[in-house]
């Protein structure tokens, strides 16, 4: 069972931050940085203009931060936390992405997830899919 992971030269022993996981963590960290700064700036300077959009930006930022940390940390509990946060992330990008196309006036301004993350080259849409795939791929044999 572990050999299929070995084929990607990393992620052995249930680790989520080795091999290709190293790249996943790096991209998550970039999004944690980008979303946190963006949300902090928007909430600090113009929170009243589009409260829903900026609250969603802040929620997305928190999710990226927790996902990054839980992908870096070894063990069963961080792994569970990664499953939960990345699932919420996928649900978030799909929901916000769809609603931003159907009811753009609800939001008032763009979020990281608007139009399925178009402003960020659709990486926000691809990232949770890769994250969930990677979690299932590196699942410990005993689990």
């Amino acid at each position: 069972m572990t050999t299929r992971v070995g084929a990607l030269d990393g992620g052995r022993h249930g680790s989520t931050s080795g091999g290709p996981g190293r790249v996943l963590v790096a991209v998550y960290a970039v999004f944690a940085l980008a979303a946190t700064s963006r949300a902090a700036y928007q909430l600090a300077t113009k929170a009243q203009e589009a409260p829903l959009a900026y609250s969603l930006s802040a929620a997305a930022a928190a999710i990226y931060v927790v996902a990054t940390v839980s992908l870096i940390r070894p063990g069963a509990r961080p792994r569970r936390l990664a499953w939960v946060t990345i699932s919420i992330e996928l649900a978030g990008v799909l929901t916000v992405g769809a609603l931003s196309l159907v009811e753009p006036v609800w939001f008032g301004d763009d979020t990281v997830w608007s139009r399925f993350g178009q402003g960020y080259l659709f990486i926000p849409l691809v990232l949770p899919v890769l994250g969930l795939w990677w979690l299932s791929r590196t699942r410990p044999v005993t689990a």
């Binding site: 030269d9 990393g10 091999g19 290709p20 190293r22 790249v23 790096a26 700064s37 700036y41």
Partner: protein, 116 residues
């Protein structure tokens, strides 16, 4: 901002991206050349931030210095973290991390230039 420093940072990052990308495709570990290029981009960014600091301290620069400073702090952090994270992975994936690092540094530098 000094245009020449922007060109230097983006240029180093583009070359680093190509070298690391080719190296990753050939299933190699990161080479010293890529590490040096990312470090060079970081040094040029530090020089740039000194210039930006002086201009802002003199009361010049763009309308919203807050966002410029936020970008600057962010982009300065990407290089060191990216290098450490990449070099902890002694496989082709270390190279892919360097690609992410260099692309992020170049993108943020260009965005900063745009804001200036």
């Amino acid at each position: 901002m000094v245009d020449l420093l922007v060109i230097g940072v983006v240029g180093s990052c583009v070359v680093a991206t190509v070298l690391a990308g080719v190296s990753a495709l050939r299933d190699r570990r990161p080479t010293l050349a890529v590490v040096v290029l990312v470090a060079l981009a970081e040094l040029l960014l530090i020089a740039q931030s000194v210039v930006i600091g002086v201009v802002l301290a003199m009361g010049n620069g763009p309308q919203s210095p807050l966002i410029v400073v936020a970008y600057l702090v962010g982009v300065l952090a990407v290089g060191p973290f990216g290098l450490v994270w990449a070099l902890g992975e002694r496989s082709r994936w270390g190279n892919v991390v360097l690609v992410v690092t260099a692309v992020t540094m170049a993108t943020m530098t260009l965005r900063l230039w745009d804001l200036w």
